[in-house]
Amino acid sequence: MKTDELTFEEAMEKLEAIVEKLEEGDVPLEKAINYYQEGMTLSKLCGDKLNSVQEKMTQIMNEQGEFAPFEIQEEQ
């Protein structure tokens, strides 16, 4: 699976797994370097996903099942 196809959740899980593996030790050096590179890519991906995604507008569904923008109304 290519990293840019991952969801945020999958990327976070992979990143955590890689850190855990490195923390356990016993990883051959070449492999550790590969892990590190992959981990840094994932870390950047997660950060980017948090940064780049536009704030989503809250919507409300009407009786016909159609969506409309929703504004919070202050109590009268």
Binding site: L29, Y35, K56, T58, Q59, G65
Partner: protein
């Protein structure tokens, strides 16, 4: 003219006096159900006491309620002693409670307990049935009233924590007769849409009557049916409804539901930073370890002083050879000693001695044999002499010397009977010193007696 009109205060005062002088209203024993209960921060308790036809406002001041042995709750049936008076500011008569004790349980409370028991038995609350709330939802459906504090709290909290999630409000009635149907339909609709990965179902605080829709069976069933994980958030912390029990996760308040639905963006960023830092730290450590290992290898004694190492080995070899020789000598000595010992033992075992001993024994045997033989011979000789002597005694010649003689026929037969001879026969008589030839004159036969 003006005097005909009373002020509100005067009228209220009048009514209050009327009520206050009535002895029946000074000491009232009342039973009913508590509703709209609130415990003011200054200690007084305000509530409505009601039955199925009427209600009355009531207050229990801190001075009285500090002696209560139970915690009043909505839906609780109580027995009350108090007095009726008028609160002039509101123009409202009310019950001033002096004593209060529980009287069984209220009907709504009873209905709640019964449904709770029933659904519990049917497994609606089983932990095994609870679905996991997604860690990173993409689209949250919020089933609540589109107005009021609850929807506002939910949306602002979600937006603050995790603005990248899509939120859709599915508006429903949250109190009144058709509220339960409205909520149940919305849960089913959300499931049919295949849009949401998390649902929040709830409303703000209220009396037990106002929250009641969330205690209805059809709502519980729709929540139980839902394929989408549901976080429930009904009322305040202390209000727990049937919906809360059935939901996959119960939040104490609407704000709490939003917090449980999404992670904080700030915390997520911190987590990513922490992970990134550990990643770098781990790799750096790894490199450092390898580096140290390499340094240690390079600095090893063997690399620094190779000839020293050989010398040491030489020396070690010498000492090995030395000890080998020592060992050889020792072994040889030991073998020699053993051989000597064996030889000595063998010598002691030489048969010469035995031969000598045997010879001595043999000589002894021969000697004793000779002795016995001599003895035997002597004995035999003596015996022989004796026998000869005896023989002499019986020798017929000897007997003849004593006058006996033997007579023979002419045919040299010894004459033992008269029958053997007749007259005129020639016979010989042998004596010890010769013989006489004779002729028989007569034979006289002696008659046998």
């Amino acid at each position: 003219m003006e005097n005909k009109y009373l002020t509100v205060a005067a009228l209220t005062k009048y009514i209050k006096r009327k009520i206050d002088v009535d002895p029946h209203l000074k000491d009232v024993l009342l039973k009913g159900e508590i509703s709209n209960f609130s415990h003011h921060s200054r200690g007084h308790m305000y509530m409505t006491i009601k039955d199925d036809q009427a209600k009355i406002q009531a207050v229990m001041f801190a001075g009285n309620n500090r002696y209560l042995k139970f915690k009043p709750e909505n839906g609780m049936n109580v027995l009350i002693r108090g007095e009726i008076s008028v609160y002039e500011a509101f123009g409202q008569y009310q019950l001033y409670i002096q004593q209060m004790e529980p009287d069984g349980i209220g009907s709504l409370y009873l209905a709640f307990e019964q449904l709770k028991e029933k659904l519990h038995k049917q497994g609606y609350f089983d932990q095994g049935h609870k679905k996991e709330i997604p860690l990173f939802p993409e689209h949250i459906g919020v089933i609540t009233s589109p107005t009021g504090a609850a929807v506002r709290d939910i949306i602002t909290t979600i937006k603050r924590r995790y603005p990248i999630v899509q939120v859709t409000i599915i508006p429903v009635l949250v109190q009144g007769e058709s509220a339960a149907r409205s909520i149940a339909d919305a849960v089913d609709l959300a499931n049919n849409l295949d849009l949401f990965d998390t649902l929040i179902v709830g409303r703000g605080g209220g009396s037990i009557e106002e929250l009641w829709a969330f205690n209805e069976e059809i709502v519980a069933e729709s929540i139980f049916r839902s394929k989408i994980p549901i976080i429930s958030a009904v009322g305040h912390e202390t209000d727990i409804t049937i919906s809360d029990y059935v939901a996959d996760l119960r939040a104490p308040t609407p704000t709490g539901a939003a917090e449980l639905a999404v992670q904080s963006q700030i915390e997520l960023r911190e987590k990513i930073d922490t992970l990134t830092r550990s990643l770098t730290r781990e790799l750096t450590n790894e490199m450092r370890n390898h580096q140290r290992h390499l340094e240690r290898l390079k600095g090893a004694y063997a690399f620094r002083y190779p000839e020293q190492l050989i010398k040491q080995k030489e020396q070690a070899l010498d000492s090995f050879v030395l000890s080998l020789q020592k060992e050889m000598i020792a072994t040889k000595k030991e073998k020699e000693t053993r051989l000597l010992n064996l030889y000595k033992r063998l010598i002691t075992q030489h048969p010469q001695k035995q031969l000598e001993q045997s010879k001595i024994k043999l000589d002894e045997k021969i000697k004793s044999q000779n002795y016995y033989m001599t003895k035997l011979l002597e004995n035999k000789s003596i015996q022989l002499t004796n026998t000869i002597d005896k023989l002499f005694l019986v020798n017929p010649l000897e007997i003849m010397k004593r006058g006996f003689s033997l007579s023979y026929t002419a045919g040299n037969e010894i004459i033992k009977s008269t029958n053997q001879v007749k007259a005129n026969d020639y016979i010989k008589i042998k004596l010890s010193d010769g013989k006489i030839n004779c002729q028989v004159v007569e034979v006289e036969e002696e008659s046998k007696s």
